[in-house]
């Protein structure tokens, strides 16, 4: 098990997301550093996938830019290694299972450990298939971050009870992408999760404004923002890091307000 859970202790976490190698190696490294500088608690680095079934258009487009840059799984590791020279911010990978499977579960987890990557978010691996990788991940102290959705129903209990690191609470139905409305039973859902586990929760999928971030951070232990940041990268390209850092700071303070509101 990693030290991810500890981050949430008495602290509302902000977890931003970037796609590796979008639009290129150096910019991604700089973006990771900018996110850390801007106040991210955990940086989620997306490994591009040819067919990202859980992702909306913004992240699909980022994946395509990364493929144009020639991204390989190896490239992603090198980006993290390069970032590690400038920051020790906790990092998790968001990756579709096939990437990990093809690399080899053991080799992949070992690599994560070596790079100081604490966890994996695998959107196409439900509870039923977690045994494929969890024993291996455990061996290297890597958390497999489970997702819980508004539709999870009777499944919440077993998923929550088996969780480690943190729990990715899906804010709404469908796929990633900016949204203005969320599932209105999120508060109850988080409460139900809490009744089964102490593992912290972070809400993601569609959050994109400071106000939304604050709202979500009031409900859960943390908030994840993906498409909004990827969108900045799409707009600014190599000039993204500065804007990313500014945006991160604005979210950081919104999340901190939620923290204060609660305290």
């Amino acid at each position: 098990m990693s030290n991810l859970s500890a981050i949430f202790k008495n602290h509302k976490a902000f977890i931003p997301f970037v796609v590796a190698d979008d639009p290129d190696f150096d910019t991604t490294v700089a973006n990771i550093v900018a996110l850390a500088e801007g106040g991210a608690d955990i940086v989620e680095v997306g490994i591009p996938f040819s067919d990202p079934i859980a992702d909306g258009g913004v992240i699909q487009a980022a994946d395509l830019r990364a493929f144009d840059a020639g991204v390989r799984t190896q490239t992603v590791f090198e980006i993290v290694a390069a970032a590690r020279k400038q920051t020790d911010v906790p990092i998790v990978f968001l990756t579709y299972l096939n990437i990990v499977f093809k690399y080899g579960y053991d080799a992949f987890c070992q690599k994560c450990q070596a790079l100081g990557v604490s966890g994996l978010v695998i959107p196409d691996m439900p509870y039923e298939s977690r045994d494929d990788i969890v024993p291996t991940a455990d061996k290297y102290g890597i958390d497999i971050i489970p997702l819980i959705a508004p539709t999870s129903g009777h499944r919440v209990e077993k998923i929550a009870k088996a969780a480690s690191g943190f729990i990715y609470v899906v804010s709404s139905l469908g796929i990633t992408g900016e949204r203005n409305e969320f599932f209105n039973g999120l508060k109850d859902l988080v409460a139900e999760i809490k009744s089964y586990t102490d593992v912290p929760t972070a809400i993601g999928f569609g959050v994109h404004t400071p106000e939304q971030a604050k709202d979500m951070a009031e409900i859960a232990d943390g908030v994840i923002i993906g498409s909004a940041i990827v969108d900045i990268v799409a707009q600014k390209k190599q000039a993204a890091p500065e804007a990313v850092e500014a945006f991160t700071k604005s979210i950081r303070s919104a999340v901190d307000e939620a923290q204060e509101a609660r305290v």
Binding site: D51, I53, L97, N98, G174
Partner: protein, 405 residues
């Protein structure tokens, strides 16, 4: 009707030979998948459901489909006796209807009012729209914008049948993007909606369910051949895209070890070329579209573009049970190129007066190769999965004939 919508906890399901299959989809869809699983397993042995299904297969799909003795081909090839299982004679012209009838009936029993499906060239979309019309259900079909532009006729045909077709404009605007869009739609509105799977692929229970509904092919052919020849076939041949017609053609023979099972994949420009869809021969193990199976992918696990002249066979994966049958050596999988399939398209038209789907002609091409090597007292049953009217224009173009309808 029992209370079918209640989802219950499931254990690890749908794993073949400890390897292939399983469930690899977003959590958002898992509860719905459990409901489908539960309903399917509750209903499949329910006499009322069985009776309804049977009635639809007979009185709507036009089953049993003919087991046709291809005398001319048999004599011309000079080896094994060739029977063709004529799924092309089903209503709507392909085996697809068997499966959509089954799934739509399940949807009806689940109280669903809306069917959604993705489609590439449009075949599965048309079949789904057809059954939705019959059942008076809403129907929404997702199709890449590139494909709706290329296949305007099928687009219109689906709308004619009352379906709403959504041209998908994300990504490269082809099948994979349509799949994403359909999953998104399913994830965001699963209440009241049934996702109709087009082949024996995807997460459990879809491969099992599609196999179940397509097994009627081999159940019939076994009985029919028994009546005609009082024996089992020596070989069963069927083309493999996702694998639904092939698994349906094999199903009832899998335990008959003496019956050779051959799945024919689309080799495109050649099994060893980059333009191929020969998943089992060229692919490697991976996890994609909800299942662990064989996929055409690069060493990083990125899914490759696929190619075949046949829209129905150019899928980068294959159903998990085929991966299993291949691994266990129970079935053999071979590739047939575009050129060979087109030649077979012409061959069977000229020999038997049958314009068969270019997908099915991959199987026919293999029969042309293998039959002469077999003895005259051996029997091949080859499934003609569909009719070829849809292919006449494109084959003409392939042959350099100028067709502008």
């Amino acid at each position: 009707m029992k209370n079918l919508t209640e989802a219950k906890t499931t254990k690890r399901l749908g794993i073949f030979a400890n390897t292939y299959g399983g469930q690899y989809i977003p959590e958002t869809l898992m509860t719905e998948l459990e409901k489908v699983d539960h309903a399917f397993h509750t209903l499949k042995d329910d006499p009322d459901f069985q009776a309804e299904l049977h009635d639809l297969l007979i009185n709507y799909a036009n089953r049993p489909s003919l087991l046709y003795y291809a005398k001319n081909m048999t004599e011309d090839l000079g080896g094994a006796k060739i029977y063709l299982k004529r799924e092309d004679l089903n209503h709507t012209g392909a085996h697809k209807i068997n499966n959509v009838i089954g799934q739509a009936l399940l949807a009806k029993h689940l109280g669903k009012k809306r069917l959604i499906a993705k489609t590439g060239a449009g075949q599965h979309g048309v079949a789904t729209a057809t059954i939705a019309a019959l059942f008076g259900m809403e129907c929404e079909i997702f199709m890449g914008k590139e494909d709706t532009d290329r296949q305007k006729l099928n687009f219109y045909r689906m709308e004619l049948l009352g379906a709403k077709v959504h041209p998908v404009t994300t990504g490269s605007m082809v099948l994979k993007d349509a799949i994403n869009a359909t999953l998104q739609e399913w994830a965001s509105r699963s209440e009241g909606t049934f996702y109709v799977m087009g082949s024996a692929v995807g997460p459990y229970p879809f491969p099992e369910m599609v196999k179940y509904f397509q097994s009627v092919i081999s159940k019939e052919s076994k009985q029919q051949l028994k009546a005609k020849e009082n024996t089992l076939p020596d070989m069963v041949v069927a083309c493999v895209g996702g694998g639904s017609n092939a698994i349906g053609s094999f199903a009832d023979y899998i335990d008959d070890q003496n019956v050779k099972l051959v799945g024919v994949e689309a080799a495109g420009k050649g099994v060893d070329s980059d333009q191929t869809a020969a998943t089992i021969e060229r692919g490697s193990v991976g996890i994609f579209h909800g299942m662990k199976s064989l996929f055409l992918q690069n060493e990083d696990g990125q899914i490759n573009p696929v190619y075949s002249i046949s829209a129905g066979l150019d899928y980068p994966g294959v159903g998990p049970e085929h991966a299993t049958l291949a691994k266990e050596g129970r079935a053999q999988y071979v590739g047939i190129t575009d050129d060979e399939a087109v030649q077979a398209f012409e061959y069977i038209a000229r020999e038997e007066g049958i314009v068969a789907a270019i997908e099915s002609c991959h199987a026919v091409a293999y029969v042309e190769k293998i039959a002469p090597t077999m003895s005259k007292d051996q029997i091949i049953v080859c499934t003609l999965s569909g009719r070829g009217d849809k292919d006449v224009a494109s084959i003409a173009k392939y042959k350099g004939v100028d067709i502008d309808e």
